[in-house]
């Protein structure tokens, strides 16, 4: 019997699958349809828009940089170690993915807040994290870096171990072998992880609101601007939301094209 023949089961599967596609796609369509050209113009000219967009882009790039810098060595270690500590670390690092952002926000306050675990030590050094742009970046790093670490770990695991061994026997130092052989080979996977992580940072809302607060120009990122705009003007919030959809789509496109680009570059 052909798989493509009509059967009640395949009809049911089609209906179920289509329902999900509709659930996922229609809200974005509605967002676009509910916006007029004059709404767009008004929203782009709104005093909340430019600072929030600038802050969102700046903080996501900063958190991506930190994530790549700290996450790449961690991913390598997780991929190469076979110790028990490694397995436990891997699970601990994934925790922010499954925990609600609000939980991360409260946890960050209890860690870096004035009365938090490290708050006292930090304030002795004159560092006050809550309500600052650094708090926005920190919240983004905590919620987004696990996506990068996960991608980096699995990419490094899939790499051919012989690559580094060959590089070493050809006289490369471990650092040289890593930078010149391992990183280029892992680039596609790392870039996918970086794009996902950046998208998550861009969309960060709950942890930021709790830990960094809501201050135009300082901690009011695009998602928080949407939240604030919604309380006064729904059309404004709709346009802000559309901008985030556009940025998200661009990142998604990057996820799909980067790896191919990178692998063609590393092959040539």
């Amino acid at each position: 019997m052909s798989l493509h023949r009509f059967s009640p089961a395949s009809a049911l599967a089609t209906v179920l699958g289509t329902s999900l596609v509709l659930c996922l796609a229609v809200p974005f369509l509605a967002l676009a349809l509910s916006t007029s050209f004059s709404d767009l113009r008004a929203a782009f000219a709104h005093p909340m828009f430019a600072p929030a967009l600038k802050l969102s882009l700046g903080t996501s790039i900063a958190s991506l940089g930190l994530t790549a810098l700290l996450g790449t060595p961690l991913g390598w270690w997780l991929a190469t170690t076979s110790s028990r500590v490694g397995r436990i670390t891997e699970i601990a690092v994934q925790l922010p993915i499954i925990v609600p952002p609000a939980v991360v926000g409260v946890a960050l306050l209890q860690t870096f807040g004035r009365r938090g675990l490290l708050g006292g030590i930090l304030s002795d050094f004159g560092v006050h994290l809550p309500f600052s742009v650094q708090a926005v970046v920190l919240a983004q790093v905590v919620v987004s870096s696990p996506f990068f670490v996960q991608a980096a770990t699995s990419t490094f695991r899939e790499l051919d171990r012989d690559l580094t061994i060959v590089a070493r026997t050809l006289g490369a130092s471990p650092a040289e072998a890593f930078v010149r052989v391992v990183l280029p080979a892992a680039a596609p996977g790392l870039l996918t992880g970086a794009s996902l992580s950046c998208a998550r940072a861009l969309g960060e809302f709950g942890a930021t609101l709790l830990f960094a607060g809501n201050m135009p120009g300082v901690t009011q990122t695009m998602p928080i601007a949407i939240f604030t705009a919604l309380e006064s003007d729904v059309r404004l919030a709709t346009v802000f939301a559309l901008v985030l959809v556009a940025l998200g789509s661009a990142l998604l496109a990057a996820v799909r094209t980067f790896p191919r680009l990178a692998s063609s570059v590393s092959r040539s």
Binding site: R114, G213, N214, M215, E231, S232
Partner: protein, 261 residues
């Protein structure tokens, strides 16, 4: 299939299903009314055993938005007249009744890290949290700071405004930043300050302080533009509003620090 998934969902949540013998009334109230309205609902239900009141608390601007977008509220108690006025204009509500007043107060953490002893010392604070401009608490605070500028000078007001590190969406979220010890000072309603034992209250001089007035309205169901004919539900809505204005209702509000209308 999808219907059965929903049915399963309904079954799993059935513990919150309404009691068919009681009339369910949905009351939307400003966050600052939290404890007062919890008490009011309890005593109203005790007086009317066939009524079941569901209380939703949030910033008045959020509640208004939800009503405008079809939330099925029967009664809306707002901390600012604009939000009820907008609903009355759009035909979604009956005429507003003022039922209580409130004023602003400064709160600092018990440990008082910025060592603020009076309103005039608010410019010592490095981290001040207030309400967002959309929220009634933020709007009243802006009015108050405007008068403070006139009374205490530009340099005082500029220092205060520069120290604002976050604008929150309702008075309870503003207070939470002081409860947590993250803010040096915050401006909330006097009643919010009274309801927390984690904060110290600092009076705002009468000449600078702002009067907040609370209004309550009956909300029409979303489908109709005009108010519905009396049904059991809207009858209870009217009774609830009457109860808030009654001597007993006013006594409950006064117990939580609200001033009479």
């Amino acid at each position: 299939m999808i219907a059965s998934v929903f049915a399963l969902g309904a079954l799993l949540t059935s513990c919150t299903e309404p009691d068919p013998t009681r009339v369910r009334l949905t009351v939307f109230a400003a966050s600052s009314l939290t404890e007062a309205f919890e008490d009011l609902v309890q005593s109203f239900e005790a007086e009317h055993p066939t009524a079941e009141v569901l209380l939703t608390l949030a910033g008045s601007q959020v509640l208004r938005l939800q009503i405008e977008h079809g939330a099925s509220a029967d009664v809306f108690a707002s901390a600012h007249s604009t939000h009820v006025a907008k609903l009355v204009q759009s035909g979604r509500a009956g005429s507003p009744i003022k039922f209580a007043s409130n004023e602003l107060a400064l709160v600092v953490p018990r440990s008082n890290p910025a060592n603020i002893g009076s309103f005039e010392q608010l410019n010592r604070a490095r981290q001040i949290v207030i309400g967002t401009d959309n929220a009634p608490i933020g709007r009243y605070t802006r009015e108050m700071l405007h008068r403070a500028r006139a009374a205490l000078g530009d340099s005082y007001a500029d220092a205060v405004e520069r120290s604002v590190v976050s604008t929150e969406s309702n008075s309870r979220l503003v207070r939470a930043k002081v409860d947590l010890g993250e803010a040096d000072a915050a401006v909330v309603y006097r009643t919010d300050a009274l309801a927390s034992n984690a904060v110290r209250i600092i009076r705002i001089p009468d000449a600078i302080n702002t009067q907040a007035s609370y209004h309550i309205i009956r909300v029409a169901p979303a489908a109709q533009v005009t108010l519905a004919p009396p049904t059991a539900r809207s009858d209870f809505a009217s009774r609830f509003i009457d109860y808030i204005g009654s001597r007993e209702g006013q006594r409950v509000l006064a117990r939580h620090g609200f001033e009479p209308r």
